[in-house]
């Protein structure tokens, strides 16, 4: 059983009463003394205020990337222990954000996963994403199977609206035209083996721009807000001046103990940011960084109510670099993986007073020679996607799936959600590997209905070792009514990233044997014994649509009606009248004069 949650510390500690439960006035003195002692203990013995049923962990991993960039991956966990996370529970929470708990319980949500990302994760250069996210916004949820199926859509719509309000994101644009229920690829991440996808809803908004208005409400969900602990580093100005950043919010049931027994409900908030190493080294003149150079300030201390607060620096790839130095020194943790590869981390335990003894602030600085070529292992799987074709009528989408593993085939699940106004033709679907057809072993295709639901295409592909597999599909662009176009219609519409899910060999740094002190990647499904499920997202695409002239409605209505009226009028004229003879001499002078002019020009006798 793999451990992916950090909670054992809590079960070891004594069930001391919480700081906030002091309300017995009769035993005032006794309690005051206890509080004092507790505070002392908190400060010096690393026993923070905690309750048995809720715990908070915070963690930051800093990792130099092979491209010279730097990854900072924050992770905040709030855990509530108990079987039933319901309305009653939601009313008595201390660490878990009330507002979120109420929303989740009232919508019968079993699992909720939100990501908001700006930029595209460059897999080959940066390795595996700690919490994979597509560009833009993504929301998916599993509902409790106690919810009647007929209510799932309604709850989903309402949940999207609530999340939109909670995170100031455009989740309110989620509707039936961009929601799907994927058959594979988005299985529950927590306890439970729910397979009935009628309780699953997935939507992605590729156009979403993530910025400080999303970060601020996201930070407010943390127990310490951004007043203390690692969250003090989350200053918008520095974070958003980066190459990539993503916010994640995940709610799921997890086993309470490492052996898989018991239930607890975990809210995980992640923030992943990649700082530009090249620009940074040019600006600072050295190939290194300090915490304050990254985030604008050093660390003051942990969040006082956290039961775990740790900072890791991944030195696996730079340990051997000439001129390597890390100051101040921390505990070094080494992990071995199945691929004869060792992973080394430097750990700073923020709850240990010794961390802050020498200096009041923790500001690790790291330096190494800029010439050092990092021999980092590149991910086995990499996916990318692009548009093909010219013009505004037909087009195609091509995905390239790179299997870099030298000798193992990979089985991957490729999921695509395309809006209805791209009329996808499934007969044009081709999968080729090295010029030869490589038919998918499973094709799940739900065609779109106009203005009702998107196309949903799921493929199960086998990628031979060390090959590139290309998936092509053709589409035709529809002309929409002039009110259906997004604002700035000539900019085009954004198409969601395709999702590739795969079981990857050896991509797990711990290979299933992580010790408690390892900064394990968040993204792993619990209660799963075979391999490590990895999810990759392609780029989003920008498709130009043919547009009508938006300034023309009146003219078009008038002109078309005129043509119809010409038809109606002339038929009316011919069908309702009959031919009569008339003496031309009785015509009035002007008419005859004009008629004669024309007749003279035509060369026929005058009248």
């Amino acid at each position: 059983m793999r451990k992916s949650y950090l909670c054992s510390r809590c079960s070891l500690c004594a069930p001391a009463p919480g700081l906030h439960r002091v309300n017995y006035f009769g035993k005032m003195e006794q309690w005051a003394l206890f509080v004092f002692l507790s505070l002392l203990l908190t400060r010096f013995l690393d026993v923070t205020g905690r309750r048995t049923d809720e715990a908070f962990h915070e963690q930051l991993l800093l990792k130099p990337l092979p491209s010279g960039d730097l990854l900072a991956s924050f992770r905040f966990d709030i855990e509530w222990r108990g079987q039933a996370f319901d309305q009653g529970t939601a009313a008595h929470l201390r660490l878990f954000p009330q507002v979120l708990a109420r929303t989740l319980t009232s919508h019968a949500v079993r699992e909720l996963h939100i990501s908001l990302a700006q930029g595209w994760w460059r897999g080959p250069a940066w390795g595996e994403h700690p919490d994979p996210a597509p560009p833009g916004a993504q929301l998916w949820a599993w509902f409790h199977s106690s919810l009647p199926k007929s209510q799932v859509n309604e709850k989903w719509q309402s949940l999207a609206g609530a999340m939109s309000g909670l995170l100031c994101a455009s989740f309110n644009f989620i509707d039936k035209t961009n929601t799907i229920a994927p058959a594979f690829g988005f299985r529950p991440m927590g306890i439970g083996n729910e397979t009935d996808v009628s309780y699953l809803r997935y939507a992605s908004l590729p156009r979403e721009i993530v910025c400080t208005e999303n970060l601020t409400p996201w930070k407010k969900l943390l127990p310490c807000d951004s007043k203390a602990g690692l969250a003090t580093l989350l200053a918008g100005g520095k974070l958003f001046n980066s190459m990539y950043y993503s916010l994640g919010l995940h709610f799921r049931p997890v086993p309470m103990r490492p052996d898989g027994a018991g239930w607890s409900w975990q809210l995980t908030q992640t923030l992943t940011v990649v700082f530009d190493g090249f620009v940074r080294s040019k600006l600072t003149g050295s190939h290194g960084w300090t915490l304050s150079s990254l985030f604008g300030r050093p660390l003051d201390g942990p969040c006082p109510i956290a039961s775990q607060s740790r900072l890791f620096v991944d030195i696996t790839d730079i340990e051997q670099a000439p001129g390597f130095s890390l100051h101040p020194a921390g505990t070094t943790v080494t992990e071995a993986s199945g691929m004869d590869r060792k992973y080394s981390y430097v750990l700073y335990n923020l709850l240990q007073p010794s961390t802050f003894v020498q200096m009041r602030r923790l500001n690790p600085s790291i330096n190494w020679d800029a010439d050092w070529d990092m021999q980092s292992q590149r991910p086995w799987l990499h996916v990318e996607r692009f548009l093909t074709g010219v013009g505004l009528h037909h087009g195609g989408i091509s995905s390239l799936l790179h299997n870099r593993h030298p000798n193992r085939s990979l089985t991957v699940h490729h999921q695509d959600t395309l809006p209805w106004f791209l009329r996808v033709y499934s007969h044009t679907l081709t999968v080729t590997t090295a010029g030869k057809a490589n038919p998918p072993s499973y094709v799940g295709y739900h065609p779109a209905r106009d203005r009702e639901r998107p196309h949903q295409l799921e493929l199960l592909l086998t990628l031979p070792p060390a090959t590139i597999t290309r998936v092509d599909i053709q589409f035709e662009r529809a002309l929409l009514t002039w009110t259906e176009y997004p604002p700035d219609a000539n900019h085009g519409v954004h198409i969601c990233a395709a999702v590739v899910t795969a079981v990857l060999p050896d991509s797990d740094p711990c290979d299933g044997l992580c010790s408690e002190n390892s900064p394990v990647s968040f993204y792993r499904p619990l209660v799963r014994n075979t391999g490590l499920l990895s999810r990759l997202y392609t780029q989003t695409l920008l498709v130009s649509l043919p547009t009508p002239d938006f300034s023309m409605p009146y003219n078009v209505v008038c002109l078309t009606c005129t043509v119809v009226a010409i038809g109606f009028g002339s038929f009316h004229n011919i069908l309702t009248r009959s031919f009569r003879t008339r003496d031309p001499s009785q015509a009035s002078g002007i008419v005859r004069h004009l008629a004669n002019l024309i007749r003279r020009w035509r060369g026929v006798p005058l009248i």
Partner: protein, 432 residues
């Protein structure tokens, strides 16, 4: 003369085969003027692929043809080029036979009438009638529009075949067959249902005793009889379609689609840009008006042309090609092929030069403006829309001109070619 037809068919096949195997065929099949959302071959292939994937072809919003098309091409998909060529040849032969009958009918009708004055200049001549069927066949088979429709594998070619069969069956006075083909044509593309009354009128001329007025009980009886047969055929077809896929999804996907016009892909008709641009709250109103417009002309036409059901049928088919919701050039090609039948009206056409110029310039402008809008981005939708407007106007002028010419000729047949006053001055003829 039959040898000529054989030669014509061989030529038609050769031209089609040459284009099918030339690089042009891909470009032609992508033309929106030929492949509407209803008739595009690409969508038929998609429907068959969906069936193979275990998804109903009507699950999505791509396929808007009837289950019969699925059934036919389920077996013949690999021979589609052959099928469409054979369909075109068959249509041509049927049009030829039908035109032969029509020519005979027109000749007999002319012979049976007594002329009070000298109208020999506008009378039909046996020689022209002799060549008429061949002209019709050539006008259909060698019309570039028909060839393009065939190469694009637009299912419109099949619709045209059914219409031709309907015309032949009606000419031959076979009530059951004409009801079957009318039901098939209506089942395929809905609009031919307006031909019900013209067909009844034509059949009634031979079948019903007495004058064709609504007071005639024989006529009423015949109308009822024919309608029942027609509806019976239609319901059998619908039931067969239901039993093919065990679902009635095709009814909204085919007929709902034709009537409510949800797909605004450009075509040569009047609907697409109008419903792209129209204000949302007027949409339903205008859809009703536009669809009504396609059906409304039948009654006045019947009243005015009750003695000339063949011409009535021609005008009605031509009007549908203009006013239907997803028209394409195949429909236009069909009624253009019937024009040689009415070549004796040419004397009274007023706008033939203008119409010819308009049609030719539209034929040139369609691809150019489409390219400018969709590929080079230097024009916008308005340009293509303008071309479709001009095209529709040209067709309306053409059809109304033929109607005018027909009525004018009838007038002159009755009153003489030149009508003079007592003092010998020429009188003007005008509509009043």
């Amino acid at each position: 003369m039959d040898l000529w037809l054989l030669f014509l068919c061989a030529l038609g096949v050769a031209v089609r085969a040459a284009i099918f195997y030339s690089p042009l065929s891909g470009a032609i099949s992508e033309r929106v003027e030929l492949s509407t959302p209803q008739t595009a071959w690409r969508r038929v292939v998609e429907a068959l692929t969906l069936l193979d994937l275990g998804v109903s072809p009507y699950e999505g919003d791509t396929f808007h043809e009837t289950p019969m098309i699925i059934y036919i091409f389920h077996f013949l998909i690999d021979y589609s080029e052959l099928v469409f060529t054979v369909v075109d040849i068959t249509t041509t032969v049927i049009l030829y036979l039908s035109a032969k009958k029509t020519a005979l009918h027109l000749w007999e009708k002319q012979k049976s009438r007594k002329w009070s004055v000298d109208v020999s200049a506008i009378l039909l001549r046996p020689k022209s009638l002799h060549w008429l069927p061949l002209h019709v066949a050539a006008a259909y088979l060698l019309n570039p529009l028909t060839i393009a429709t065939c190469v694009a594998r637009s299912t419109c070619a099949l619709h045209n075949l059914l219409l031709a069969l309907l015309m032949l069956a009606t000419q031959n006075n076979s009530i059951i067959l004409s009801a079957v083909f009318l039901a098939l044509a209506s089942y395929e593309s809905l609009y031919p249902v307006v031909l019900l009354l013209p067909v009844i009128l034509q059949l009634a001329q031979k079948e019903v005793k007495g004058k064709l007025t609504l007071r005639n009980p024989y006529l009423l009886c015949f109308i009822l009889e024919y309608t029942v047969v027609f509806l019976g055929c239609l319901s059998v077809l619908l039931m067969l379609s239901y039993s093919l896929l065990y679902s009635s999804d095709f009814i909204p996907a085919v007929y709902g689609f034709i009537l409510s016009v949800p797909d605004l892909t450009p075509n040569v008709g009047l609907f697409w840009y109008f419903f792209t641009e129209v204000f949302e709250h007027f949409r339903l109103f205008f859809i009703c008006i536009f669809q009504l417009n396609a059906f409304i002309y039948t009654l006045p036409l019947i009243i005015v042309l009750s003695d000339h059901p063949q011409f009535l049928m021609f005008i009605q088919i031509a009007l549908l090609a203009v006013f239907k919701s997803y028209p394409n050039l195949g429909d236009v090609a069909f009624y253009l092929a019937l024009l040689p039948t009415w070549a004796h009206l040419n004397r009274y056409l007023r706008n033939s030069f203008l119409v010819l110029c308009l049609l030719l310039s539209c034929g040139v402008l369609f691809p150019i403006l489409w390219h400018l809008w969709v590929f080079s981005g230097s024009a916008n939708a308005n340009f293509y829309y303008a071309a479709t407007l001009a095209f529709s106007t040209a067709q309306i002028l053409l059809i109304s001109d033929y109607l005018y010419a027909f009525r004018r000729r009838e007038f002159h047949l009755k009153h003489g070619i030149e009508i003079k006053t007592e003092d010998g001055r020429k009188m003007m003829v005008e509509l009043k």
